[in-house]
Symmetry: D2
Subunit: 125 residues, 4 copies
């Protein structure tokens, strides 16, 4: 990812690893979600407050390619950039292992906004 809007450093926690001794795949979704929410916060937008105001940012689709597994103790960074069309924010998110900056996960996350139950045209970023 050449250009990105946000970068979050993180570290694997042991409870995120499964019996194969590597991070369980579902946790990458957690990492990506946390990175998006931290990105929003850096722009002054709280996911929790949006919800309490009746605006729910919702993931409509996600694609992840797993390139190499992270392990106990690995540090990594999540890089996030986005494009926006009328009804959708498309986030491109890459996870790089810190030790060698090799790509661990490449993801695309499509999100829409639901306002009081209705799909809505919004511009929150």
């Amino acid at each position: 990812m050449d250009q990105f809007h946000h970068e979050l450093p993180m570290k694997v926690r042991d409870y995120e690893c499964d019996l194969q001794g590597i991070v369980n795949n579902a946790n990458y979704q957690h990492y990506l979600e946390h990175a998006r929410h931290e990105f929003l916060l850096s722009r002054g937008i709280s996911f929790a407050r949006l919800h309490s105001e009746g605006i729910d940012a919702v993931v409509s689709a996600i694609t992840m390619r797993f390139k190499l597994p992270l392990k106990s103790g690995d540090e990594f960074v999540v890089r996030t950039r986005y494009v926006h069309d009328k009804f959708k924010y498309i986030f491109h998110q890459d996870i790089y292992r810190r030790s060698d900056m090799r790509l661990a996960v490449r993801a695309q996350v499509d999100t829409v906004c639901v306002v009081n139950g209705q799909l809505s045209e919004v511009d929150i970023l």
Copy 2:
């Protein structure tokens, strides 16, 4: 546990195991919570609906003794009984491994009710 109010059969899911190849301890808290909520449902009480009505059942303390570890594929049962005093429900919950009915986890979970932010005397069961 000689007498109990509710019994829930469950099975270990592989993603609940950690790099030691056994169920990560935090998941036992999930099992216990799920068993309490299923018990409530069996009495016609929905945890989610309580919340939407402004009543939050909240755990104030938990004690767990881990006797033997559950592993991939293990089936188990959660047995739940409770005692009630003015402000508190005390749940006694045991987890038994199905294959030999040996005790895996013994727990006590104290819960209180918070109504619109205030600790309240309630009688939901």
Copy 3:
């Protein structure tokens, strides 16, 4: 999904719901993984035993489309079918809400086998 190899009935657990009151997306990955592992077990194949024998079934890519959110108490079924080519098992998995059998999540999960650290041509199903 017209034809499928395996169907697993499940139910939302409250701890799987997040502050929006709906199942957190990462948990759908857990459901899908659990359904694949139960499918393997139904064919006599244990994911944990494979690992202990040096064979790791690993997800290389996943695509999920989220159609409608599951909520506290919802029952659902996960339907799984697969196709196999030389190096890859491709799983098609759909999650249907039980109450009306509407599609909640449609997923494709590509898995490869790594034997002693090397990508391998295998035929486990």
Copy 4:
């Protein structure tokens, strides 16, 4: 906690909150475990490497008192101290909310070491 051996700053991630809008209790066990493992790492001890060497540090009992709930965006610190007797490490761990340094969770975690399946007298710290 007047004196402690280790302090870890952390922050709530939104996916750790449940439908009540507060951190799900099981996640406090995750926080405590992660803090213990980071403490061990600060002493040069890797939980994962211990496991690969046949030494499993295992929690035998845990007691947690929940004083106030953490919410989306809350920062907190986990303070850890321990005492050691022949067969057991007893960890005392407190979680404080950063904004006002009020106590959120007070915990005691008893751990034992299992070496090749046998409870063992060990001295790893």
